[in-house]
């Protein structure tokens, strides 16, 4: 026999609470839930594969961008290379010709002479032109060509020994 018997009111409250909790959890799904779930599961792989393909494409695109960016950073294009469509600005000075000229002997003075083109017929070397300008009257000074220098053309006679370069 219980020590503390419940009053009718307490008993009613307990019964009501139990019944209400049962009622709270009692619910029935609409008919055909199992079939709907199974159909949904069957349809799902198609959606998943589409999503996978879409994601793969996006990932592939991003990877391509990153690889190209890394390649550009690691191997920048040659700065001296001028493309067909790019012209240097008009006011830029062309770079000096740094091609080594090993075919010319170095004179004893150690100073490599300038390579000058052979004089054309009727053209005089700069040194002689300078002398002639000094000797010439003032009126003819402006007509003398001094801007283009040249070396005397070599004679056509065969030489046994190389002539010293001036």
């Amino acid at each position: 026999m219980p020590d503390n018997p419940k009053s009718p009111r307490d008993q009613f409250l307990d019964e009501l609470l139990d019944a209400s909790l049962r009622q709270y959890g009692r619910t029935e799904p609409r008919i055909g839930l199992v079939n709907r779930v199974l159909r949904h599961i069957e349809d799902a792989p198609q959606k998943t594969s589409w999503m996978t393909g879409w994601r793969l494409s996006a990932v592939g695109f991003v990877v391509t961008i990153v690889v190209v960016a890394l390649a550009l950073i690691s191997y920048p294009p040659d700065a001296t290379h001028v493309g067909p469509g790019t012209l240097p600005p008009a006011n830029t000075v062309p770079p000096p010709d740094r091609t080594p000229r090993f075919n010319k002997p170095i004179p004893p003075s150690g100073v490599r002479p300038l390579e000058l083109p052979p004089c054309k017929p009727g053209q005089q070397p700069k040194a002689s032109a300078k002398k002639s300008t000094e000797e010439a009257p003032e009126s003819t000074k402006s007509t003398t060509k001094v801007s283009e220098d040249c070396v005397p053309a070599p004679s056509k006679q065969p030489q046994t020994a190389p002539a010293p370069h001036r």
């Binding site: 609470l17 909790l21 959890g25 619910t27 799904p29 839930l33 199992v34």
Partner: protein, 205 residues
Amino acid sequence: MAQTAQWMISDLLLMAAQSESELEALVRDHAQLVFRIAYSVLRNHADAEDATQETFLRAVRHRGKLREILDAKAWLARIAWRVAIDRKRMGTAASLDDIEGTEGATALRSLRDSGAGAEQIASDRQMLALMEQLIAGLPRELREVTILAAVEELSTRQMSEVLSIPEATVRTRLFRARQMLRDKLANLLERADWAASGPGGRSDA
């Protein structure tokens, strides 16, 4: 060589068929439980069905684990619980003190006066709404065990697996939740009695 390949293919097909039948059996056996758990949380048929679909989709994604799982029912219940909780953040529940429940209490009083039993009163629509309000007003940890217990298909051990808490904690929380609900119901009944008897005094002792 070709025969070996044929055997391998037939084995694979057999495994796939077994997996399909296992999956179908899983859905047939537990769809109702999953739905009821989802409904207990969401309180809406359409949302509960969506949650049920999502629960089984998640189960399909992890079907490799199915043979390692000892209690498929608890495993599915846990997934269903998480899906439903994700769908409805329960932090917006009203405080228990805020619930007036006047309509429900009045209906309760009239049903009791008409001689209706507890079961009959509990199945009343207004009483059900009152109960939903009372459960929604419980603290979160007490509300969770009450909802799961109301489904009536899970043991205490399975409930502890779903909520990732010890079994003893489940029992303690259930007891506390029940006490709170009972007290609140008693208060509502007293209020209804007082309202029926008028400001002059109570109608019954």
